[in-house]
């Protein structure tokens, strides 16, 4: 028997890494993960580090799921998801965001928005394709691109421009290998949004360069001072866009892992192939809950959005009073203040804020290029907690400047 000497060195854990795929080995642990390790074990912390609603899923949604289990609804659903859920998603998007998809072959129910993005990338990428990602951005876009064999190319956005993507910045990063642009507006972590006028020149560049767009619109409902403009609703963009969304943020359903993708049948067909051979279908009970959320949960959703809006005003005003410049986020539930005047790096600031003031926020660098000099503060927490966090941060910053 021939033994591969390089790999086979008994039970030494180190050696096992030689079995791993290079693409996976090269992925760095996320900045959030590193910070999570720091936070755990600390007591009496007020956290502004949480990327999920502080509301529990509305009771009627949970109850619908429990009732379905009582009735024994525990089987597989069709690969693409329950037909009535796909129909409801289609109606919801048409009514709320003026984008129309055929529930038969243009809607795919996934295990969270994350799976939808993974499927989209795996369906599209050839090794070496370049994926354009405006940064700072949600932490998983770049690693998941690498796992799929693509090359992530960051496009830095800046606070001066309210972290919006511009056509010029996009154009400057395009090469013959560019294939996909990943958008996430409203943005995690900056809260930036894009208007119709903002999108128009972007759409032109997309068309001219024959790009495919993955538009992650998970925070669409959490748009405050304007109306969310769904990228596929822009002229000519519908058939070159994969719209990704889900129930986590607007319906307070993070743990259910319910998401969906909508696109041209060719794209959804390809994604469904991967989906059926990996997860088969999204969990049946989650689909029942999602259906209930869409049918009867819009009032609850509006109530939660109003509550986030109130806290948004509170945190932005509070941060500015402390002396941390904060552009006004127009969407999602994050404030992204600058900490540059303290002279500390984002990581130093966040670490000291945690140990000295017992407030957890996430260093902007966790979200890629352009994040240095900023921290992400989630305001999905109670008004009383926000008040206390701002007081603590105020005292902390006072010591520094």
């Amino acid at each position: 028997m021939i033994v591969n000497q390089e790999r086979s060195t008994g039970n030494d854990n180190k050696s096992m890494s030689s079995y791993l795929a290079t693409g996976v080995k090269n992925i760095q642990p996320s900045g959030i993960r590193k910070f999570f390790d720091l936070v755990s074990g600390n007591k009496d912390i007020i956290t502004l580090g949480v990327g999920e609603p502080d509301f529990v899923t509305p009771w009627h949604v949970r109850e619908a799921c429990v009732y379905s289990l009582e009735r024994g609804f525990t089987q597989y659903t069709s690969n693409a998801g329950m037909p009535e859920l796909r129909e409801e998603i289609s109606r919801y998007l048409e009514k709320g965001f003026q984008v129309s998809y055929d529930p038969k072959d243009e809607v795919l129910v996934t295990v969270g928005g994350s799976e939808a993005i993974d499927l989209a990338l795996r369906a599209l990428l050839e090794p070496g394709d370049e994926i354009l990602v405006p940064e700072p951005c949600y932490i998983s876009y770049s690693p998941i691109t690498s796992i799929s064999g693509g090359i992530p190319v960051g496009i830095e956005t800046t606070a001066d421009n309210h972290f919006k993507l511009t056509a010029e910045d996009l154009q400057a990063k395009i090469t013959p290998k560019s294939k996909v642009l990943i958008l996430c507006y409203p943005s995690n972590p900056t809260g930036a949004t894009m208007t119709y006028e903002d999108w128009l020149p972007i759409a032109k560049v997309v068309e001219e360069n024959d790009l495919i767009v993955i538009s992650d619109e998970i925070y669409a409902e959490l748009t405050y001072d304007g109306t969310h403009v769904s990228f596929p609703s822009m002229p000519g963009m519908r058939d070159r866009t994969i719209l990704v969304s889900g129930f986590s943020k607007a319906f307070a359903m993070t743990g259910w892992r319910m998401g969906y993708a909508c696109a041209h049948p060719d794209l959804i067909g390809a994604m469904t192939k991967i989906h059926q051979y990996t997860v088969m279908c999204a969990p049946a009970m989650g689909q029942v809950a999602a259906l209930e959320a869409l049918r009867n949960g819009l009032g609850e959703k509006d109530r939660m959005v109003e509550s986030y809006n109130q806290r948004r005003r509170m945190i932005v005003q509070g941060l500015c009073e402390i002396g941390l410049d904060c552009h006004e986020p127009q969407g999602a539930f994050y404030a992204f203040p600058s900490i540059k005047r303290t002279g500390l790096s984002s990581e130093e600031f966040a670490q000291r804020l945690l140990t000295e003031a017992k407030v957890a926020a996430v260093p902007g660098t966790a979200f890629g290029s352009g994040g240095e000099g900023f921290i992400r503060c989630s305001y999905a927490t109670s008004i009383a907690q926000l008040d206390e966090a701002l007081k603590r941060m105020g005292k902390f910053v006072e010591k520094l400047v």
Binding site: I45, T47, G49, G51, Y138, S140, Q317, A360, A384
Partner: protein
């Protein structure tokens, strides 16, 4: 009945959650000036929409013994005044905390608070039942309060989220 403006409704919602919120905080939360908030509150108080600011107490946490009962009362309405006069006679008793006119098997639902079962029983037998118009009473003692006025009496509702997440 006057229809309240959306702004006043938001003020009411925020004060209902926590009556201690200051006009300064409310103005921040609502994106309005402090004067607008103060004016809205003053009008709501003047119009008796905001009747009183009270504290919801979980008496179960305090050693002081309190007993609550809901009494279903059937009455004969009075000519010309219907149920109003008799309701007033009943709600003026200090131990009566609320009185509702009901549809269904009885007419008034009377909520009573006392220091002991005996005190509540005495109220029913000595004060309530002897009223001429009262035909019958049925007393239900409340054994435990789980939720009152939308507030759940749960011990330290826990935030189950991770401290940091994407």
């Amino acid at each position: 009945m006057e229809e309240l403006s959306p702004f006043k409704l938001k003020v009411l919602d925020l004060l209902k959650e926590d009556a201690r919120r200051t006009p300064a905080l409310l103005s921040t939360l609502l994106g309005a000036s402090e004067e607008e908030v103060k004016e809205a509150i003053a009008e709501l108080e003047r119009d008796h929409v905001i009747v009183k600011y009270v504290t919801v107490v979980n008496w179960g946490k305090v050693e002081e013994e309190k007993v609550y009962a809901q009494i279903e009362v059937q009455i004969t309405p009075e000519r010309g005044r219907g149920f109003e006069g008799i309701a007033e006679r009943i709600y003026l008793f200090p131990q009566v905390k609320s009185v509702y006119l009901m549809s269904g098997a009885y007419d008034l639902l009377v909520e009573v608070e006392g220091r002991s079962l005996r005190e509540v029983a005495n109220f029913v037998s000595e004060k309530l039942s002897p009223i001429d118009s009262v035909l019958s009473t049925k007393t239900n003692f409340i054994l435990k309060k789980y939720k009152q006025d939308g507030i759940i009496f749960e011990e330290n509702p826990e935030d189950k989220r991770l401290l940091i997440s994407p």
